[in-house]
Symmetry: C2
Subunit: 459 residues, 2 copies
């Protein structure tokens, strides 16, 4: 009998937490987004909670417009560690938690990305994960010679080929290619190195990669997979999806859609773990939880709240904060998928501008649960057993406290219900996620040929 | 009175050591080039020896041609950690030694490089150094969409602008830009963030960088500075040069030339530390040292030796190993500066092909000293006091042993002579190298304006 399916958990550990005012929390270290010890404490908390992975979002530039003027200087969304350097450091002070970093396919080269994640996988003993994104903001484009971000279709075409090249480079060396026989002087078996020779629309990459095959075979691949193109790419290549759904109906529809697309790539549904974001704020009582949430909500200043909206809906500072949310100017070039979610929230709840920015200040459009540990476990269980999720990506309001509260209060409740591990099952992230070992294609082909040969011999 | 000038030491800690047969040393871990604990031990040994820095050479691809066939599989120059991920990990198990990584300007973007080294500088508490190189091999070019490396002049033009952009990005935030005042909600002072808006021949980069100014003000910049263009770039922008000279005459000429170029950039000679490479093999007696060296020399196979030559002089496998070194085919497109050094060595010593590859198998054209600790200290002192060097970049024959021998035998001898530190002077690499703090230009301008104002007021 197969072991009962368990909830997978990741945590977004970027900067000061997910809440717009997280850095202003009375117990926060206001400069934590550039303090190594802050990141160490957060990651070690994630490991104490037996989380599958700690995840660093990233942008290649500041991605928060200073609109209205002064918005940016009233948030902490300005500076941070570069994810791959930080995760390599964090690998040295943890032993089991997975280490996931965002890296953009829009302004990078596949050879660099393949190397860096392979290197992190070796350094961490098999705990690396790559969150594949495209870069949508003009602010990032302007750091790479462009005026604005390339169109979405082009970005996704490039991303799909980018992932293909990286995966190919990760197969440059078979697992047992290195003989390192001091006596004969033979360092590797030339038959077990594979030159990629990729030639595509966006990339020509010869290879081989100058890093050995990694402890996980290859690092874990994460995607967001929101748009139709994104879902298709995720169905084809992702191990994990960080999804964003507000209701179980949305979550289930998304889950069914993406898992349904996998068959055409010869993949089983369980080869992909769908983990929607969730902002969970626990308290011993519902009132305590609500009070914890309100501490932060009260710290959201209008200039910062309007700033958070401006990135998706344009500058609304000329409108009455306590009036309705206007239709955004379609000429305003923004990240439309998130903007659409925000507008739907406003329409559904009949929200004013102030109510809208307050309702996104925490989860930024992700699901939010404020309540007792049982409430939060119920909310997770509903989606987990209801066909909406394989696990969740925790979005702590602030760090490290918001995560510590979940680890200390919610994890034990999930464990009591048999929904969550009580010890790490394996050594690598792949093992802990319950994902299959990716046999090297050349080794698989040799094994198949040998089996056929033995079959023929037996006849 | 100024403290007496001390010898600076770095160590090249790439892979299995500098000697072609280092991985075959009886005491070596043959797979050390992909073992984290190997790198940890080497870096901790460097710190035990109070070295200024541990240095990782790098290429964006394998840079050793498989010529003649089988050459590559008979060396360990195939796989390695990616330097920035590895150094970030090593920062966590060391506290004072500088951490230097090569990163190419040919196939990178300045924004990425500025971020990663700034992040490493924060993680390490001010110990990051960037070795600026251009990528000369066709093997690397083919991993980035090209058939062959771009011409040298174009590479250097790009490199010069690349360094300028990176330095500019490192000045995005003044040291005291971040106020992080929870009460007022003001995270930073908008007057202390500086948008670069660089527009040049190769790059358009807006900025600001999304990393705060670093503990060293900016990471240390290292260059090789061999060619005329390279020397000029180093005179303008480098903090350290890893030079390659065989004789004190060459070293002195190089030293005088580069330091002489600095005035036109408003820099003092002591703002740049010139550290030629040196392969030092110590023994309690000269015989013991020679025996240590011979252990490795005897492990150099002809296929590997010819391979090492082929990268610079073309395939010589059709010639008599014990005959003279032929003139290379000028149509053979190679790294000519190193090839020229090798040919000069052959002509000067009237070497056969076998003798030439044996003589470069260790130091790859760098200076080599095999002898007692006093011999090695003499050799260093001669160049240090003779106007040829501010210090040296150690090239251990194999790792960790080749470095451990230097740390245990040569360092105490240098200390006895008062030529070397007995404790780290500072916390950052910049402090230990004795280099001045780079005041932020905007802060300097404000200080100057204030001084003028005070001066006017006093009149």
């Amino acid at each position: 009998m197969a072991a009962p399916r368990k909830i997978r958990l990741g945590v977004s550990m970027i900067g000061m937490g997910y809440h717009l005012a997280g850095w202003r929390h009375p117990d926060a270290s206001a400069g934590g987004n550039m303090e190594l010890q802050h990141a160490v404490r957060v990651t070690q908390t994630a490991e104490r909670g037996l989380l599958d992975m700690a995840f660093l979002a990233d942008g290649v530039g500041i991605r928060f417009n200073d609109v209205p003027a002064g918005a940016l200087s009233h948030t902490s969304k300005n500076v941070q560690f570069e994810p791959l350097t930080l995760l390599s450091a964090l690998a040295m002070v943890t032993s089991h938690v997975g280490l996931a970093a965002t890296a953009s396919t829009t302004y990078n080269e596949p050879y660099h990305i393949a190397r860096k994640f392979a290197s992190l996988d070796h350094i961490s003993g098999g705990r690396a994960a790559w969150n594949v994104v495209t870069s949508a903001t003009d602010m990032e484009a302007q750091n790479f010679g462009l005026v604005g971000a390339p169109p979405k279709t082009g970005r996704y075409d490039r991303a799909a080929e980018f992932v293909e090249v990286v995966k190919g480079l990760w197969e440059s060396w078979e697992d047992d290619a290195f003989i390192r026989d001091k006596a004969s002087g033979l360092n590797y078996d030339p038959a077990k190195v594979h030159v990629l020779n990729h030639e595509g629309a966006h990339f020509r990459v010869k290879g081989p990669l100058n890093v050995a095959r990694t402890p996980q075979g290859r690092p874990i691949i994460i995607q967001a997979g929101a748009s139709d193109q994104g879902r298709e790419l995720a169905a084809a290549t992702a191990d994990v999806i960080y999804a964003a759904s507000q209701t179980i109906e949305d979550a289930r529809a998304y889950y069914d859609d993406v898992k349904g697309r996998m068959a055409r790539y010869g993949r089983e549904p369980e080869h992909l773990k769908i983990m929607p974001g969730i902002m969970a704020v626990p308290g011993r009582t519902r009132q305590e939880a609500q009070d914890r949430y309100e501490v932060l909500q009260e710290l959201v200043q209008p200039v910062a709240g309007l700033g958070a909206l401006a990135n998706y809906l344009g500058d609304l500072s000329a409108y009455d904060l306590d009036g309705p949310v206007p239709e955004p100017d379609p000429a305003d070039r923004r990240d439309h998928s998130r903007g659409t979610i925000f507008l739907e929230m406003a329409r559904r709840g009949n929200l004013t501008i102030r109510q809208l920015y307050l309702s996104i200040a925490g989860g930024n459009g992700h699901r939010m649960v404020v309540g007792t540990p049982a409430d939060i476990a119920d909310a997770m269980e509903e989606w987990f057993h209801g066909g909406g999720a394989d696990g969740f990506n925790l979005l702590p309001t602030w760090l490290p406290g918001g995560l510590e509260e979940v680890v200390e209060m919610v994890i034990p409740e999930l464990q009591r219900r048999g929904l969550y591990r009580t010890a790490y099952e394996g050594r690598t992230l792949r093992e802990n996620l319950g994902l299959a070992w990716p046999e090297h294609p050349a080794a698989a082909a040799r094994r198949a040929a040998l089996a056929q040969q033995l079959g023929s011999a037996a006849q």
